[in-house]
């Protein structure tokens, strides 16, 4: 029963990993195929003064998201990638929140009525829904950072000596083998 519950948790955490990976691949590709549109959206945040830094962000960020998404799907460097997602999601969410506050103030509308293309790859979204989505994405990334989603990974950790996760039933196998070898002598 406990093994079944543990299996269920493991499978769910892999589903979370795959969901995050697929989402970042999709959102990244949407932006990568129209980088000039993403460039305009990043500019609208008025956070970057230099046109060359603006170009670098708009040119590289979508493909970086695709890269991170593929790593999660394949199960490579999962915790490192999860940390990267968190480092992207936190400032993005703050920037979206601040921009929505400005828009609510300038348009004199309720905060949750603010709707704009935040540059996430999903087009125009209602801000409160977007913030809620980002909250769950952050939560999922934190779960992966905490060590979940280890099953079915090509290389869970880049620097671990045991690159593959240990089988769940290994401790039980060791206990059953020892008495049989002792009895022969």
């Amino acid at each position: 029963m406990q093994l079944s519950r543990k299996n269920t948790v493991e499978i769910l955490s892999v589903a979370v990993r795959w969901f995050l990976g697929a989402l970042f691949v999709y959102m990244g590709m949407v932006k990568a195929l129209h980088p000039e549109h993403f460039l305009k959206l990043v500019r609208d945040y008025h956070m970057v003064g230099s046109p060359y830094v603006l170009n670098a962000i708009a040119a590289a960020l979508p493909w970086f998201e695709v890269f991170c998404g593929l790593l999660l799907l394949a199960g490579i460097a999962v915790r490192g990638t999860a940390l990267m997602l968190i480092l992207m999601l936190v400032p993005f969410t703050i920037a979206i929140f601040r921009r929505a506050l400005e828009m609510a103030g300038s348009q004199l509308i309720p905060f949750c009525a603010v709707r704009f293309d935040c540059g996430c790859g999903a087009g125009e979204v209602l801000i409160c829904r977007k913030l809620a989505e980002n909250f769950f994405l952050l939560l999922f990334a934190i779960l992966l950072l905490a060590g979940m989603g280890r099953r079915w990974c090509l290389r869970y950790s880049l620097f671990s000596a045991a690159a593959l996760p240990e089988p769940a039933s290994a401790p039980e196998l060791d206990k059953t083998v020892a008495p049989a070898t002792q009895s022969r002598h």
């Binding site: 990568a32 000039e36 460039l39 046109p51 170009n55 493909w63 970086f64 460097a77 915790r79």
Partner: protein
């Protein structure tokens, strides 16, 4: 933690390198050295604070005044709906002496543009310049438009044309854009230029 930071750094470095390579290889990749919004030029020709351009409580009026002031500082002008309709019906349009330039991307242009308008999406100028530049050089008046509202692509496209040698006085930016044009029930051409598919 000891393994996490190096792993994250490696993911970051590899990801950034691959991202820039992918952008360089992609046919829609951005040029890292291009000033797409002419920000450096805008800083050099900034409209002085305290002019009438920005001080209006109505955001739409303030935007209009700011745009008019920016265009004026570059030697260009702002066109309103009446002026654009008059130019559209001007006999010089048929002779190619009055030219309309659509500054939007492919999908938007194909979905409907001012009849006879040339497409010039300034983010990929190499694609459109061979057709648009000769036409603009021989034209007496050029009206550049995009979606209208907060769309700045028409201003950017006009600025790029000016940078390539088209005199500023020839260039007008239609602030209302295709949105105002269609709201005024003006004809719209679908698909390619001179496709013959006109939506009344």
């Amino acid at each position: 933690m000891k393994r996490l930071i190096p792993e994250a750094l490696l993911v970051a470095l590899a990801g950034v390198a691959i991202a820039f390579i992918a952008n360089a290889v992609s046919p829609r990749g951005l040029s890292l050295s291009r000033d797409y919004f002419f920000q450096n030029q805008a800083a050099a020709t900034a409209v002085p604070a305290g002019t009438n351009s920005a001080h209006d409580p109505n955001p739409a009026v303030a935007h209009h005044n700011e745009l008019a002031a920016r265009l004026q500082s570059k030697g260009m002008s702002l066109a309103d709906s009446n002026q654009v309709v008059t130019l559209f019906h001007d006999p010089r349009t048929e002779q190619g002496l009055v030219v309309f330039v659509d500054a939007r991307e492919d999908a938007a242009y194909q979905a409907g543009h001012i009849p006879g308008a040339y497409q010039f999406y300034h983010y990929y100028p190499e694609k459109f310049a061979p057709v648009v530049m000769p036409v603009c050089q021989s034209a007496q008046q050029i009206v550049v438009y995009c979606n209208g509202g907060n769309c700045t692509d028409s201003e950017m496209a006009a600025t790029m044309l000016q940078g390539w040698g088209i005199p500023g006085p020839k260039l007008m930016v239609y602030e209302g854009g295709i949105t105002e044009w269609t709201n005024n029930r003006m004809p719209v051409e679908l698909g390619e230029r001179k496709s013959g598919q006109i939506r009344p």
